[in-house]
């Protein structure tokens, strides 16, 4: 199964944005044509990601906007990683700089190297959960977005800031893809920061004699402080007991700035045993690794998983892309009509000639029963008697009985040929069911127009 890359997704969004003004049918035909080319490459029709991916790569004009955006993002991540490593190393080297007069306060180091990170991590969790909330990017996200926008603006100069912002929103619409990408980039910064900090600490510990101490203004004895340190070291102390200073070590490293010495040292004693005052370093490195590096690695892994999942699921979950896939794989059904001349109806226009009067009851008429509904002749004659009071014989007016639904076709018109001039012709349109079909009046009118045009003395009557 294929998978969309960030570059593919960006290219799809750029394409969609560019086509925004095109009529739907034009787009559909275009994508069907692209789809047929993709399907010719043996991409399975039931693989939406494969179809979309192959479609954006059909006519490679390297590098595509997506490739350049992906490159911009790679640059962005690299810069963040390098910046993180430099910050971490710089901060740890600065914090562990031991000039001689006073020892390095382990509390300051832990607060700045680990505590700040834990607070930032907590804020990150608050920003990410719960899911159902309209998310306004926080200051860190906002700052990082600005950075990414700046780099993307340099690598995609033709896109323009307004379209970049729209594309940014589109990427976010894919279940917060850009947000998760930025979270991932921020975690990369965090991981590199911790690695840099660990490297800086290790450098100081290996290449200089760092003396650690701790101080407090509060009534806080060494025993309590040791218990806190042990609690912090719970994740590793079971495997590495040296990872936390002993109670004696904690007591021996309590430092008084007032007196300018470790509290338990004798007056005038300048320094303690290096193995005691330096005993905090395993605790420091493990704290940094467990509380700094490990959570960042976990969030990095989770955000990478989320990004992958979003990219994997987008072709199925995004309605715009699903529509493109539909267009690509389903044929365009259309109807093509022969170009043929549409002629006006062959029925003549109306006539203003007045209808002749009907002969009075008792008149005898000649009956022509043509194409009428299958009624027996005597039934029709009875109807004529009821309707006009006429009897049927030969001579007199000619009564042509037709089906009430019969149009004045050429065949029916034949019936009126060779009729003596001046003879009254009555067309009886017979409706055996006598139902009120609205078409009948129109048909009657057409008959009237037809027969008037034939210059006959006639009347059209319902029967």
């Amino acid at each position: 199964m294929n998978r969309l890359s960030l570059s593919d997704l960006f290219d799809l969004e750029v394409r969609t944005l560019e086509e925004r003004g095109d009529p739907e049918e034009v787009r559909r035909t275009r994508y069907r044509s692209l789809g047929r080319r993709v399907l010719d490459q043996n991409v399975p029709a039931d693989d939406p990601a494969g179809l979309l991916r192959a479609m954006v790569r059909l006519d490679p004009t390297a590098p595509t906007p997506g490739d350049r955006f992906q490159a911009a993002f790679a640059w962005f991540q690299t810069l963040l990683g390098v910046a993180g490593a430099l910050c971490g190393a710089g901060l740890s080297l600065g914090l562990l700089h031991y000039g001689g007069p006073h020892p390095v306060n382990i509390l300051n180091v832990l607060a700045l190297l680990v505590g700040v990170q834990l607070v930032l991590l907590l804020l990150l969790f608050i920003a990410l959960f719960p899911r159902d909330r309209s998310r306004v990017p926080g200051p860190v996200q906002g700052l990082l977005r600005m950075g990414l926008r700046w780099i993307a603006g340099r690598l995609l100069p033709e896109t323009g800031p307004d379209r970049l912002r729209i594309l940014e929103e589109r990427l976010d619409a894919h279940r917060g893809l850009l947000r998760w990408l930025i979270v991932r980039a921020a975690q990369l910064f965090g991981v590199c920061f911790n690695l840099g900090a660990l490297a800086g600490c290790a450098y100081r510990i290996v290449f200089s004699d760092v003396a650690f101490g701790w101080s407090t203004t509060l009534r806080f004895d060494a025993g309590t402080f040791h218990q806190i340190a042990r609690a912090i070291s719970l994740p590793w102390v079971w495997a590495f007991p040296q990872g936390v200073p002993s109670g004696e070590g904690v007591a021996l490293t309590q430092y008084s700035h007032l007196e300018g010495k470790y509290l338990l040292h004798a007056v005038g004693q300048r320094s303690a045993d290096a193995s005691i005052v330096g005993s905090w370093w395993p605790f420091l490195l493990l704290s940094l690794a467990i509380y700094g590096l490990l959570p960042r690695l976990a969030v990095l892994g989770f955000s990478t998983f989320r990004v992958r999942r979003i990219l994997d699921e987008t072709p199925e979950r995004n309605e715009d892309f699903r529509r493109l896939v539909d267009w690509m794989r389903l044929p365009v059904v259309s109807t093509l009509a022969d170009p043929a001349a549409i002629l006006p109806p062959s029925v003549p226009a109306g006539s203003s000639a007045a209808d002749p009067d009907l002969p009075p009851p008792g008149t005898s008429c000649e009956l022509r029963l043509e194409g009428a509904p299958n009624l027996a002749r005597d039934v029709v004659e009875r109807r004529i008697q009821e309707r006009f009071g006429w009897t049927v014989s030969t001579g007199g007016p000619l009564l042509v009985v037709l089906s009430a639904w019969e149009e004045p076709t050429k065949g029916n018109q034949r019936l009126f040929r060779n009729i003596a001039a001046g003879r009254l012709v009555v067309v009886g349109l017979l409706n055996p069911s006598s139902n009120g079909d609205p078409r009948l009046e129109k048909i009657r009118d057409r008959w009237r127009r037809y027969l008037h045009a034939a210059n006959l003395r006639l009347r059209v009557e319902s029967l």
């Binding site: 159902d132 619409a173 309605e319 089906s403 639904w405 065949g411």
Partner: protein, 467 residues
């Protein structure tokens, strides 16, 4: 001739031949008129996929004088074995002549290999003078089927069937002006029986048309989902003058939001209209996109959408469902308390909000933009708004998807009977949850929410099509 089957639609004038062609080919451009003789030339309509012809329907002029034509053909017919040759000779004799012009034009495509679809009107009584037409068609020796169309109100179908059965191996009823998608497919399936040679091509046609119908349904659902997402997120920004209060512009903001929604609805309906292959009467040009009442008319809000009671139940179920998720997450240790609280909160909120006037519950955010005070109003904050939009969209889509292409005149959709009120409680509750979540994520709801809403609407449309 290509492998694609060609069906020649023949019959007497004004019996609905062109309507049948228009409906089967989904083609509005077929000239249809009350006046007889509108079709004076045979005209082919090819249904194509990707430019490849699937099948062709040929609209023909009606029989004008079949008895006389039959007489002429008889003169060329020595015995039954040369009946088709006699018909051919008749066509050759009168080709280009004014005499028997219609008969020769309608028979020509049949003699070229077309299958015959003979159309009669089942609402008028049968009469024996049709037999001349049927006899001529039988003599062509081509596969043929009779279609009993329904133009008027009468019912003479059985007498027609009895008569047609003597001349045609297959007789089907087909109301061209009321035929839905399934009727069309059933007719195409009958064509398969008519002619083994066209079976493979027709199987492919049926499969493609089914896929196309599904695509239209899905696409319509997308359009409706997008309309609802727009309505749930809709806001308007107005710049206040010095000394002006946001309350002073309420009316203007409300009017602007209502107009925006009307436009959005009209565009959505227009899109659905086009999806089903209608072009001639532009839905968007009609006052309410073909619906009888305005979106914000009092009658619309009375007749459509959910009732207060249904909104309450939907809100309660929606809230309880959210609570239930918490209960499940807690492994049941919460004794269903979150479900109960969720239900109460959801139901109460729904009740309160359903009684509000439009715009009374909207969010108003004032901010400075370039030194000017700009106020953002919206969304409209009525729980029933998405339901009314949905109701109208479902009613509209049902009317469009079942409207035959032969039907003439402007589109007028009756919007009296609510569809959403007939939905089950659970079905409604799911929509309430989706509406609520989409509103929370406005203005850019995530993909999966819109996809879920689309899927929910698609199911409703499918149910409507089947009902």
């Amino acid at each position: 001739m290509s492998d694609a089957p060609e069906f020649v639609v023949v019959g007497r004038v004004n019996k609905g031949k062109s309507s049948i062609v228009a409906t089967l080919a989904e083609e509005e451009s077929v000239p249809i008129s009350d006046e007889p003789g509108t079709t004076t030339e045979s005209r082919a309509y090819s249904v194509q996929v990707d430019g490849q012809v699937l099948f062709t329907l040929v609209d023909t002029p009606g029989f004008q004088d079949a008895p006389a034509a039959l007489e002429q053909i008889r003169k060329h017919r020595a015995d039954a074995s040369v009946s088709d040759a006699a018909v051919r000779a008749f066509v050759d004799t009168y080709r280009g002549s004014r005499e028997f012009a219609e008969e020769s034009r309608l028979l020509a495509p049949i003699l070229k290999g077309g299958r015959i679809l003979y159309v009669v009107d089942g609402t008028v009584p049968y009469s024996s003078d049709y037999e001349a037409e049927m006899e001529i068609l039988r003599w062509t020796g081509r596969p043929r089927m009779a279609l009993v169309n329904r133009i008027g109100a009468g019912n003479h179908v059985e007498e027609w069937k009895k008569a047609l059965g003597q001349y045609f191996s297959i007789v089907r009823e087909f109301d061209a002006n009321r035929a839905g998608f399934d009727d069309r497919i059933r007719l195409l399936e009958s064509f398969r029986v008519l002619d083994d040679g066209a079976r493979a091509s027709l199987d492919r046609t049926i499969a493609i048309l089914r896929a196309e119908q599904q695509r239209r349904r899905r696409e319509s659902a997308r359009v409706i989902a997008s309309l609802l997402a727009t309505a749930l997120a809709q806001r308007v920004e107005l710049q206040l003058k010095p000394g002006e209060h946001e309350r002073d512009r309420h009316g203007e903001a409300l009017g602007a939001l209502e107009n925006q929604l009307r436009d959005a609805e009209r565009r959505a309906h227009g899109r659905i209209f086009e999806l089903y292959g209608f072009r001639r009467v532009k839905s968007t040009e009609l006052s309410f996109a073909g619906l009888q009442e305005d979106l914000f008319a009092e009658k619309t809000w009375k007749d459509l959408g959910l009732t207060h009671g249904q909104l309450f139940v939907a809100g309660t179920l929606g809230g309880a469902a959210v609570g239930l998720m918490i209960d499940l997450a807690a492994g049941g240790h919460t004794f269903l308390l979150p479900s109960v609280i969720g239900g109460v909160v959801g139901g109460t909120t729904a009740l309160v909000r359903s009684g509000r006037k439009l715009g009374s519950g909207w969010k108003i955010v004032e901010h400075l933009m370039g030194g000017a005070r700009v106020v953002r109003y919206g969304p409209l904050g009525k729980d029933n708004l998405p339901w009314i939009l949905l109701d109208r969209a479902l009613i509209y889509t049902r009317a469009i998807s079942t409207r035959a292409h032969s039907v003439q005149g402007e589109l007028a959709v009756s919007d009296k009977d609510s569809i959403v009120r007939t939905l089950g409680g659970e079905v409604r509750a799911k929509a309430v949850r989706l509406f609520s979540r989409i509103a929370k994520h406005a203005p850019t709801p995530p993909d999966d929410l819109v996809a879920d809403l689309r899927s929910w609407i698609e199911q409703r449309l499918e149910t409507l099509e089947k009902s």
